[in-house]
């Protein structure tokens, strides 16, 4: 089963994607989509070195919601910063040690940081132990780190890494 469907989540995603692409849910398209959703992961399986184990899907879903809301907030905040007086921007680099370890979770965290208000992950250390973050209002780095930890890193740890 594992060799036939190496990545069931991926397969499901692909089927959905196919239906999105063709904008149709006719039986023919579902069949074709299923076929592709089966074949493509089979071919690309070896590119996925890390199997993603979602321990707490609901938590992940909640995190997604948080992020989406934060993106909206981020944009409004950024809009105000851009249009407003430039003096309000007090940027700075923040060094943030990471607690997440897995490839996927580290990458996800980095992306979330970038998409959410005022922060941007600028560099990941080659040993993946820390992140350099650029913050538009980076006077209080500890606060920013704490917020990131609480809002994003912990849920990620819980959902993807800790047993």
């Amino acid at each position: 089963m594992k060799t036939l469907f190496p990545h069931p989540i991926l397969s499901l995603m692909l089927l959905g994607l196919w239906l999105l692409l063709v904008n149709s849910i006719s039986p023919g398209q579902i069949l074709l989509g299923t076929l592709l959703a089966w074949l493509i992961p089979l071919y690309t399986a070896r590119f996925w070195t890390a199997q993603i184990h979602i321990r707490r899907p609901l938590l992940l879903l909640k995190l997604t919601g948080t992020v989406l809301v934060d993106i909206l907030i981020a944009n409004i905040a950024v809009a105000r910063l851009i249009v407003g007086p430039r003096a309000r921007i007090q940027p700075g680099f923040i060094r943030m040690p990471l607690r997440v370890k897995g490839n996927v979770s580290v990458s996800l965290l980095a992306n979330i940081i970038t998409l959410t208000p005022g922060t941007l992950s600028a560099s990941l250390s080659p040993d993946r132990s820390e992140l350099i973050i650029h913050a538009l209002q980076g006077e209080d780095s500890a606060a920013i780190i704490t917020e990131i930890r609480e809002r994003y890193e912990q849920p990620l740890l819980d959902a993807l890494e800790q047993t």
Partner: protein, 936 residues
Amino acid sequence: MTNLPLIVLIPFIGAMLPPWAVMTGRPWSAWVTGGVALAALALTIVPGLSVMQGETLIWQQDWFPALGLSLAFRLDGLALLFVLMILIIGLLVILYARWYLAEQDPMGRFYAYLLLFMGSMLGLVMSENLIQLLMFWELTSISSFLLISYWRQRADARQGARIALAITGGGGLALLGGILLLGEIVGSYDLSAVLAAGKSIHADPLYVPALVLILLGVFTKSAQFPFHFWLPHAMAAPTPVSAYLHSATMVKAGVFLLARLFPALSGSEAWTWIVAPVGMLTLLIGAYNAFFKHDLKGLLAYSTISHLGLITLLFGIGTPLAAVAGVFHIMNHATFKASLFMAAGIIDHEAGTRDMRRLAGLWKFMPQTGLLAMIAAAAMAGVPLLNGFLSKEMFFEKTVYMASFAESFWLLPVLATIAGALAVAYSLRFIHDVFFNGTPTDLPRTPHDPSRWMLVPVEVLVVICIAVGILPSLTFGPLLGVAVGAVLQGPAPDYSLKVWHGFTPALGMSMLALAGGALIYAIRQPLFRWHETLFGRIDARALFEGFERALLWSSRALDQLIHRRSLQFMLVVLISAALVMLARGFWGMPITGSATLLPIDPVSTSAAICLAAGAIGTVVWHRQRWTALVMLSVVGLIIALAFVKLSAPDLALTQLSVEMVTIVLLLLALHFLPKQTPRESSLPRKLRDLLLALLGGGATGLLTWAVLTRPYDSISGWMLENSVPGGGGTNVVNVILVDFRGFDTLGEITVLAIAAIGIYMMLRDLRLDVPLTDDQGRPWSSDVNPLILATFSRLLLPLALMVAVFIFLRGHNLPGGGFIAGLIISVALVMQYLANGIAWTKLRLSGELHPLIGLGLLLATATGLGSWYFGYPFLTSTHGHLHLPVIGDLELASVMLFDLGVMMVVIGITLVILIRLGRIGLVQRRVAIDDSDLNR
């Protein structure tokens, strides 16, 4: 009759024998060659007898009627005379050469060349067709080139041969021009027709150019002034060659032609005023130089020039009797000059030198040779009772006769006598300097008479000289008669071949010449000094070499000017040519047409601004190459947008995909190139380029404007109508690509496949320095594959593959298709390489990419070939709907297979190119690491 061509053919075929025969033994090559010449001579007997009866034999075979070229041989008196000379003297030379050639000289080659030459001469004199004549004429030039350069390791031989070839070959080309004009005048190249057309030829406006060109041929071949200088240098040939070529054959070809075309060309003022003065000048210059040459063969060479001048002068005079004298002197000169050359060869052979300043008193050592030489030289000097005397008398007579026509012509007999005296003087010198005049000092070896057989040819010739000199009408008489008849193409005039004509002015001139000659010889020492100071430095070869050097120098100078190996120059020329042609095409024509135009909107305007910024930015930053590349990609993006806006979604997709791959490609390449371009164009150069660029841009802009403002109508209406019924697809562009014009697409993927193969070839063993820092000197980041990128790019792969399948499947009906799908897959895979590195990715890609190219090409071609099975032309498509339960209608078309082939080729090629290019650095680095391991 049919053996006429055989006479010519035999020597050519025979020319293959000596190199074989020489393997049996050296002499065999001579005997075989002699046999060949004898065979040709034997074949001449029967037709020769008819000719002696006054017949003209013609053998003709159509060859190339459109050109007017036929295989046509003619044997009349003149031809017979020459055939006999060529064959008989040829036989004697063959015999002579047998003993002349040294052990180390390759004999087979010599005789082969000689037979080639003999055949060419025979063909020349027996040609009935003028173009055929010309072919043999040039063959004589070439075979004589081979003969003269026979001793190829000697510089003078090579040079002499080249000079001879240049002059006579060049003359031959002029002659070709003349003959073509003559043929145009007459309407035929058949000699019979030409000879019969004398009157109309003279009346034609092309007569003078034709005459001049033909005479150029004649004069060069017969070494007439000012083309005479090749002949002395041809003396570098082995003496048998000189004896053959410069007595009876090669140089006589010119005067032969003069005689041959005499009825057609002579008799005009132009003829007389060109031919006679050239002859006279040559006569004098030759005789003068002959006297001052210290080299025996040099003397003979200039004497030959002089005698040829005499013959030319006689034909130039143009009266029938002068022609008789001319023909007669051709015969006489051949006999005494051949024997003299042979004698000179013997002297050279025996004494080891030909320098008359070193030779002396040889009479004691080689009396037989001395006697023969003496008689032959006397004939050359015009001593009575020898053949040379007779024709020279006739010549003197003609000059006297001419003097009676005009007041100023008194000069003719005077000059003739002076030339006669000089001839006597150099003949005397030839004999006295060599055989008497004291005793020889420091000769390389002790001379003695040569072997019996080497003297036989000389003896035969000398006997002829005497026999003709005493009994002219019994010996040469009949042959001269028919020859003259052929030359004049009518009855010969009354002439008498007698030794004694009574006390005529000519006899007086002869006596005067003999006495004068003796006097000149007597005062030779002061004359030599005088000559040395006046003309000593004039050296024809140096002149020719100077000419050749000048030619070389000027052509090299021009060559460097024209053929600069500069790409910029080539491009400037090409672009200028295109501009000139565009301007010429447009000139005087309205630019703007009458079509209704589309309004401009702000989005398009700002897109155009982006495009302009991108293009200009690429130019402005072309020194910062990376930045230029960024600017360039803006242009590509805007072009794609334009395609979208202007209703070409397929184009937009293709443009975007290709653009992407191109940028990656350029970045890959840029890594191994300097990141900056040096400033090296001068301001004028920049201005020139700018001007050209603006003109070019203006031209294409105007062209675009001109077309776009015109209404039009095209064949594409048919394509829109037939796309669904004929091609089975609603995406007309795609239907055109895979069906209506599928052949273009097949060609296009072939181009891609070849490009990949070429690139693959170029990249093999490519070694380039991998920069260890960027252009600012910063070492590279050690984070090879940033984790975040790697993680997400892996996620992208299946998505991109899905999109590609989608794009491929819908291509026939909606924007998309195999090509774009292929590029999407490629880009997705390239992304993996970008994010994860080659080694990582390669391990995870199942299968090789290379075969995709061949398989794709094969699939596309095979799809095309499939239609053959149904009896339709290549690439005929078929399509239809397959109705499946549940799934519904499935649109299937054979072109999808074709498109699949396209897709495979595209994937294979893109990846092969990019990955190969990427691997250069990898390979280099691995080498570097290995090296550092060793150092540790």
